[in-house]
């Protein structure tokens, strides 16, 4: 079974600064998918970024980028030029490449951007 670990329950950073959220996972598979989802207070969860394990290049989406280290089973999220709207719960998630299409979530990191 796969597990996803987020070791930072809470983080805070000043607006406009850069912050990195950590995620590690455990799997015996070679091909899989990794995601970061954002859940703002009282709002729906949305995808921030997605990485396919067979791609060596780190995914980027505007101010959001990942550092994917497959050998270390590490998948951190970097948020540059943080904005107040980035305040949210961030979940790291894993999906296998075969069989069912289920997400395994980490326990989340609550990120607060301070004005």
């Amino acid at each position: 079974a796969q597990t996803v670990t987020q070791s930072q329950p809470e983080m805070s950073v000043q607006e406009a600064e850069t912050v990195t959220l950590s995620c590690t996972y455990d799997t015996s598979e070679n091909n899989y998918y990794l995601f970061w989802y954002k859940q703002p207070p009282s709002r729906q969860m949305i995808l921030v970024i997605r990485q396919e394990a067979y791609k060596q290049q780190n995914a980027t989406e505007n101010r959001f980028s990942v550092n994917f280290q497959k050998a270390a089973k590490s998948f951190s999220l970097k948020i540059s030029d943080s904005q107040l709207g980035d305040t949210a719960m961030y979940f790291c998630a894993f999906m296998t490449d075969f069989g069912n299409e289920k997400l395994t979530f980490g326990t989340g990191t609550r990120l607060t951007i301070i004005p």
Partner: protein, 111 residues
């Protein structure tokens, strides 16, 4: 334009009184999921449908059931809600090994 719509947003029920939560989607995705999320915790998958095929998680209580009458709609039935079932219930849709789209959730309170 909401693509995954959950109704109601807030539901209050009494201990032991059956309740149904609904989810609809405009994405025509073949997979629909129901998650339970308790305060400050990760979403926990209860079950999912792959088209009409129902897939129950091993640790989902029998108290929870689901129906999917067509591609667009999916329902979560809680037969006899207990205090421990108070939570946010999230519906999501998916298509392939890709993004899941979440609804805004239904917050269930049990009195």
């Amino acid at each position: 334009d909401a693509m995954v719509i959950q109704n109601p947003r807030y539901q209050v029920t009494q201990f032991g009184k059956p309740v149904t939560l609904s989810c609809s989607q405009t994405l025509n995705h073949n997979v629909m999921y129901w998650y339970q999320q308790k305060s400050s915790q990760a979403p926990k998958l209860l079950f999912h449908y792959y088209d009409k095929d129902f897939n129950n998680e091993a640790d989902t209580p029998d108290n929870f059931q689901s129906r999917r009458p067509n591609t667009s709609f999916c329902f979560l039935d809680i037969r006899s809600p207990g205090l421990g079932d108070a939570a946010m219930y999230l519906c999501a849709t998916g298509h392939g090994k890709n993004i899941q789209y979440f609804g805004a959730g239904t917050r269930l309170s049990v009195l």
